[in-house]
Point group: C2
Chain length 218, copies 2
């Protein structure tokens, strides 16, 4: 199965953060490609930065200024996430049988054509909430939760799950039993570092922070 | 089980949209209360507006300027969502046994105290993505997916899930078999209305749009 996420209707002047979250969710929840429309190099750059630091999970990061054409020429199944669609649980088993899936995530008003072009208009509940959440739940259902355990290729840092505080190791120093040699941030440390699972934590890491830096940046 | 979501570190000048998404996810994914810190009346107002239009799902919408005190005086279990925490799948069964759960969602850097105060630091995968997605997945795991089927109390509008386009009915006109009398938006309509499952769709509806308006606003 190959899954691409197409974010349409992105407004560079006001959607940067939400769209970045959409892209990061695509990456972290098992999509193979992320395509942004219209193009916004800053968002793509942020995603590439995350891939460089945390490892490669996406095969392609791209953009298009012809999103309708992109959808029309997609040689696979088209899924459009919308609160007006059919319950995800009623269609996910069928969708999971497909080879190539394009998941459309709208930003501003979604033109009528997308509803028509989509093979599946899928709702994650029928209440208004967030396209970020909708994409995460859709992919989580699609992969049955297995997406959370994918291991990235390369990159510089890995997190060792811990009860309190932060354990971050450099790639290559994880050690056979899960990080002993590379662990410099002691357990229970906490600190002011980027603990929140949000896009913002990425922002502070452009200078190639090691695990030591993670708790010390302000 | 009673679940509250506490959003901490909100920056009114730049987090309004993300925090609104967090609040809407809390509402749509089964939380009973949403507490914002620090206070930002505009975000709370938006949530109240959604509750008024789409029906009541939250029992409490509140804010606090003493978040640490709020956590310290919480007489229940404290969960902190962080990419450095333990895998959600390894702790969710235990958490599900608790009576009262406070879910902390950070925005900017999360102070060390929260890691210490939390009974569970929980990671939705150990990759950076989005606090909006993290909260959605956590609540989805907590409720085993049942949260998507909760019915709100009152409100003005209900969506009837549909294959293409939009079906929206006024509350009270749903009809016994699912909306026949109230359905004015015909199937296959699509249109430029707010189809995306995002907070933005809420914005255009302040004037009390009926289903007719839903597809016509620009």
């Amino acid at each position: 199965m190959k899954v691409y996420v197409l974010r349409i209707g992105h407004r560079p002047d006001r959607d940067k953060r939400i769209t970045t979250h959409v892209g990061l969710v695509a990456r972290a929840f098992g999509a193979h490609g992320f395509v942004l429309s219209p193009c916004d190099e800053k968002v793509l750059e942020k995603l590439r930065d995350v891939e460089e630091r945390w490892g490669r999970l996406l095969e392609e990061i791209a953009c298009t200024n012809s999103p309708l054409k992109y959808v029309k020429t997609w040689d696979g199944t088209v899924v459009h996430l919308t609160m007006y669609g059919l319950p995800v649980d009623s269609v996910i088993d069928e969708i999971r049988q497909k080879d190539k899936i394009l998941v459309i995530v709208g930003a501003e008003k979604v033109p009528r054509e997308y509803y028509e072009l989509a093979h599946y208009n899928v709702a994650i509940g029928n209440q208004p909430h967030s396209e970020v959440a909708a994409l995460a739940i859709f992919l989580d259902r699609l992969y049955g939760g297995a997406e959370l355990y994918r291991q990235p290729v390369g990159g510089k840092l890995r997190i060792i799950p811990t009860e309190k505080g932060k354990k971050v190791v450099k790639v290559g120093e994880e050690g056979p039993s899960g990080g002993a040699p590379g662990v410099r941030a002691e357990r229970g440390r906490g600190g002011r570092g980027e603990g929140v699972q949000g896009a913002d934590e990425v922002r502070g890491h452009k200078r190639g922070a090691t695990d030591r830096d993670l708790g010390d940046e302000t």
